[in-house]
């Protein structure tokens, strides 16, 4: 907000020296903005922490030490790491193919791979169930073999991979599109094979983008709810992620337990967000 008011003031000085209308004080619009944002953003953010610590630090720690809470947090982190890693690989590969090769059907494919951001996550959960569930299209053939991806950690991973797929792609593909092909061509003429060129030239140029994309994927996976709630079956100590735990505890009336985990999730998100700002804001 200070950065907003600064250019205004200098503009005011210029106008003032020209003897024109004086720049009005910035405090009125800024104040109005804060009043609007208070119930919308600021108070909810604060509320998470206020409620988490209302019973004191002891109660907060005790709430986190409940095995269910412990499991939910660890499971969420594990899934988020796995999702970020796998989508990091697949997303980079997809971005490379879509940016470097021209083929029929390229445009529709480009749209399809970005579609998951537009689909409601609950719909994603439903469609995964309809595909992999015990009576699903593929699931009905797997079920007799004893394979049952839904309502397992693997099912949760599938859902998260789907929902977060576009984040990696959309950070890397623009970088690749902008990275002129002459860099790769230079490597070819120097003698580097396609693979060497990718490893030594292209990939290093994408380092920042891959990190940013992975963080975004991680953050979204950590907070995923809609698809997870359907495909996981919300089984405690088995498939219950942190957001599901919060929801379950809230419903059961255990506000303190819910708030403690919520506060941890919020803190994690702040840390990730801080890294994202540093990386994307200051450039590489």
């Amino acid at each position: 907000m200070s950065s907003m008011s600064r250019p205004n003031r200098s503009a005011g000085n210029r106008r003032g020296s020209a003897g024109a209308v004086a720049q009005p004080s910035p405090w009125l619009p800024v104040g109005m903005l804060i009043v609007v944002l208070l119930p919308l953003l600021l108070m909810p953010l604060a509320a998470v922490f206020i409620f988490a610590f209302r019973g004191g630090v002891g109660a907060f720690i005790a709430a986190l030490l409940i095995p269910d809470a412990q499991f939910a947090l660890r499971f969420s982190l594990l899934i988020a790491f796995a999702t970020a890693f796998l989508n990091g690989l697949i997303g980079t590969f997809a971005a490379y193919v879509l940016s470097r090769y021209r083929f029929p059907g390229e445009r529709p494919l480009n749209i399809v791979v970005n579609l998951p951001v537009a689909i409601p996550t609950v719909v994603v959960g439903t469609s995964l169930l309809l595909l992999w569930g015990p009576i699903g299209l593929l699931g009905r053939w797997l079920d007799p073999l004893g394979l049952q991806p839904m309502f397992t950690p693997f099912g949760v991973l599938l859902a998260h991979l789907f929902v977060t797929f576009p984040y990696m792609l959309s950070t890397i593909k623009p970088l690749l599109d902008e990275l002129e092909t002459t860099y790769e061509e230079a490597a070819y003429t120097i003698g580097a094979s396609r693979w060497q060129t990718f490893w030594y030239v292209t990939l290093p140029a994408l380092r920042g983008g891959i990190f940013t994309g992975a963080l975004l994927t991680f953050a979204h996976s950590l907070g995923e709810f809609g698809a997870t709630v359907l495909v996981s079956g919300n089984l405690r100590l088995r498939t219950q992620t942190a957001p599901l735990y919060i929801f379950a505890q809230f419903e059961a009336g255990n506000i303190a337990a819910a708030n403690a985990v919520a506060a941890v999730l919020a803190a994690l998100s702040f840390v990730i967000f801080f890294f994202l700002l540093r990386y994307t804001g200051n450039g590489r």
Binding site: E180, T182, E185, G191, A192, A205
Partner: protein
């Protein structure tokens, strides 16, 4: 063919030629961006490919490097066919305009990259890297990253990186294009020095003629994918063969005149034709003359009689260039002379001549005599036909055009006009099918808008020798332009400097020609133009004079007919004279043409004066409208 040709090339150039390009073709859509380029570059030579942007010069370089594949042709490097070899194995150094220094690597890592890929030992890499840093003048900067270097320094790194693995050939794609003038000059010197020292064969691509002059052992001028001319800088500057090279390299005044009586004529100025036995100059042929600024002589007093004088002019533009002053003079228009360069501004009628004088020469305010110290006659351009056939459904016009192109040894350009931008593609497809059906090789020019304007523009811009207009009725759903009606033809003919052939009837060869001298004062051009065509066609000519039914043939007309017959005999054209009495010339012409089974009527374009002479019955218009066969309209003063 491949094997025998390879043997031949190896035998000829095996040890001498570093790079041989053999008929390289690369298509982009339906356009050849590299069009049958053949070139030989000698060992240790610095060859410069010079062309405007979009000329295909960079594509040639990328083909040599293997970054793209040719659609046809071969690339031979040191006697080895590398056409199918991937870029990694061609062992060539490539320097890009945007430097393309790997940003996450230091200067040293960049230079060592090629050696690392080749698994050269670290100690050897370091030795080589230091050598190269020294060579390109970057000692001490090995640990920097690209963003810590200036553009010039980055390009030095790129050069060192490309030389690190001792490639056989160095390719440079506009390497200095993104640098400012001073750095560019420095780098040019560095490059030339390094290239000389290493004795490496290099091909550099640029659009900057100054750069080409300074660096090149030889220059190749490329335009629209075609390698037009190759030669040493000074040879290309002084003795270019084409007008394009003449104007692309340095300042040039290029004028088009006609051959008359064994001389090249530019208005009243007569210059001897070059003694070149390979060129067969005919009276009426176009000739192009090139005058360089330093070949122009300016004087206040009238030059002596034997000095070729262009005329008296005034200075219209001058620019100060330090040690010299560039001048542009405007002279009165020379009849029958067209200017190619410098390009005259719209509405400018006079003749423009560019010259240069030392700065300390005082400039006169009054009219200055402009004469020539030296000049160069360009190679006559190939004849060109412009075909416009909006109906595009009858086979007569394209088949006849093909016959004409063969007889006249000419290339054909087909003009297609679409009403809107969306119409361009269907018109193009349609015309291509039309040309394929008649097996007529031609260049397509597709335009949007008004047909008449485009035809006039095309023929003034590109200098065609003959305009062929198809007059058939269109039955097709896709029109490739407005059909030419009489008024449109008249308007085109009014500004035309080339003869116009209106294709009518069903004849696809023109072997019986009727040359009409009906207007009483027949231009000798009708006879000459008709006669020259008849000679090329191997056709028989009848000279027709429509006489007054009562007064008969005048003495003047008789004398003229005799001269016309003599002119045709001189051209070795079989001819007869026919005198036909008729009350109106048009009627007479049409009657004779109809009964005599002629393929072509040749008639002068007498323009707007005719209605006055013949009381409104315009001969040309009548003949155009009612002729049973094709009609050739010869412009009033064919140049």
């Amino acid at each position: 063919m491949g094997v025998s040709k390879r043997v031949e090339i190896n035998a000829l150039y095996g040890g001498l030629m570093s790079i041989v390009l053999d008929q390289l073709i690369r298509w982009y859509g339906n356009q050849a961006i590299v069009d049958q380029v053949s070139l030989e570059v000698a060992d240790g030579e610095l060859f410069v490919l010079l062309g405007a942007s979009g000329s295909g010069k960079s594509t040639v370089l990328r083909l040599i490097a293997g970054l793209i594949q040719p659609d046809a042709g071969r690339i031979v490097v040191h006697g080895r066919d590398v056409t199918a070899v991937p870029p990694q194995q061609r062992n060539m150094g490539f320097v890009f305009q945007n430097y393309s220094i790997f940003r996450h690597m230091t200067v040293a890592q960049n230079i060592e990259f090629g050696l690392k890929i080749r698994k050269v030992l670290a100690s050897e890499r370091a030795r080589r890297r230091d050598e190269l840093l020294d060579l390109v003048g970057l000692v001490g900067l090995g640990n920097r990253y690209a963003h810590q270097l200036s553009g010039g320094q980055q390009q030095r790194v790129a050069l060192a990186r490309a030389l690190a693995y001792e490639p056989k050939v160095l390719l440079l794609d506009e390497p200095f294009g993104a640098l400012d003038v001073k750095i560019r000059a420095q780098l040019r010197r560095t490059l030339k020095e390094i290239q000389r020292r290493l004795q490496i064969t290099a091909i550099l691509v640029t659009h900057d003629q100054e750069e080409a002059f300074e660096l090149a052992d030889r220059i190749g001028v490329i335009e629209r994918g075609k390698l037009l001319e190759v030669g040493a800088p000074e040879t290309l500057y002084a003795y270019p063969r084409t007008a394009f090279t003449a104007t692309f390299l340095g300042t040039a005044t290029v004028l088009v005149g006609r051959v008359d009586d064994g001389h090249a004529c530019f208005g009243s100025l007569q210059l001897p034709l070059p003694l070149d036995s390979t060129i067969d100059y005919e009276d009426g042929d176009r000739v192009q003359i090139l005058v360089r600024p330093e070949q122009v002589v300016l004087s206040i007093t009238e030059p002596k009689t034997h000095v070729p004088v262009i005329g008296r002019g005034t200075i219209v533009e001058q620019s100060f260039a330090g040690d010299r002053r560039r001048l542009r003079l405007r002279l009165p228009h020379l009849p029958g002379v067209r200017q190619i360069a410098p390009v005259a501004p719209f509405g400018e009628e006079g003749l423009l001549v560019d010259t240069v004088v030392p700065t300390d020469v005082p400039l006169a305010g009054e009219a200055i005599w402009v004469s020539l110290r030296a000049w160069h006659m360009l190679k006559p351009p190939p004849r060109r036909l412009l075909l416009y056939d909006p109906a595009a459904n009858t086979s007569v016009t394209p088949v006849l055009t093909r016959w004409l192109a063969e007889k006249l040894d000419a290339t054909v350009t087909v003009l297609g006009i679409a009403a809107t931008n969306e119409g361009i593609d269907p018109v193009g497809t349609m015309l291509q099918r039309y040309l394929d059906a008649a097996d007529l090789p031609a260049e397509l020019h597709l335009r949007v808008g008004d047909a008449e304007q485009h035809i006039i523009t095309e023929q003034t811009e590109s200098l065609y020798d003959l305009l062929v207009l198809g007059c058939g009725e269109s039955t097709s759903t896709v029109a490739t332009g407005q059909a030419p009606d009489v008024r449109m033809i008249e308007r085109i003919a009014r500004g035309a400097i080339t003869p116009i052939l209106l294709v009518k009837g069903s004849r696809t060869q023109l072997t019986r020609i009727l040359i009409c001298t009906a207007a009483g004062e027949p231009g000798k051009n009708d006879v000459r133009t008709g006669g020259r065509l008849a000679r090329r066609f191997g056709a028989m000519v009848t000279i027709l004079h429509v006489s007054h039914p009562v007064r008969g043939v005048s003495l003047l007309a008789n004398a003229h007919l005799e001269r016309a017959a003599a002119t045709l005999r001189a051209l070795d054209v079989t001819n007869t004279i026919q005198i036909y009495p008729s009350s109106t010339p048009a009627e007479g012409i049409l009657h004779v043409a109809g009964t005599g089974d002629y393929d072509l009527i040749v008639i002068g374009n007498h323009g707007p004066i005719t209605p006055a002479l013949f009381g409104g019955s315009d001969v040309t218009r009548q003949v155009i409208t009612h002729a049973p066969c094709s009609v050739l309209i010869v412009p009033d003063d064919a140049l």
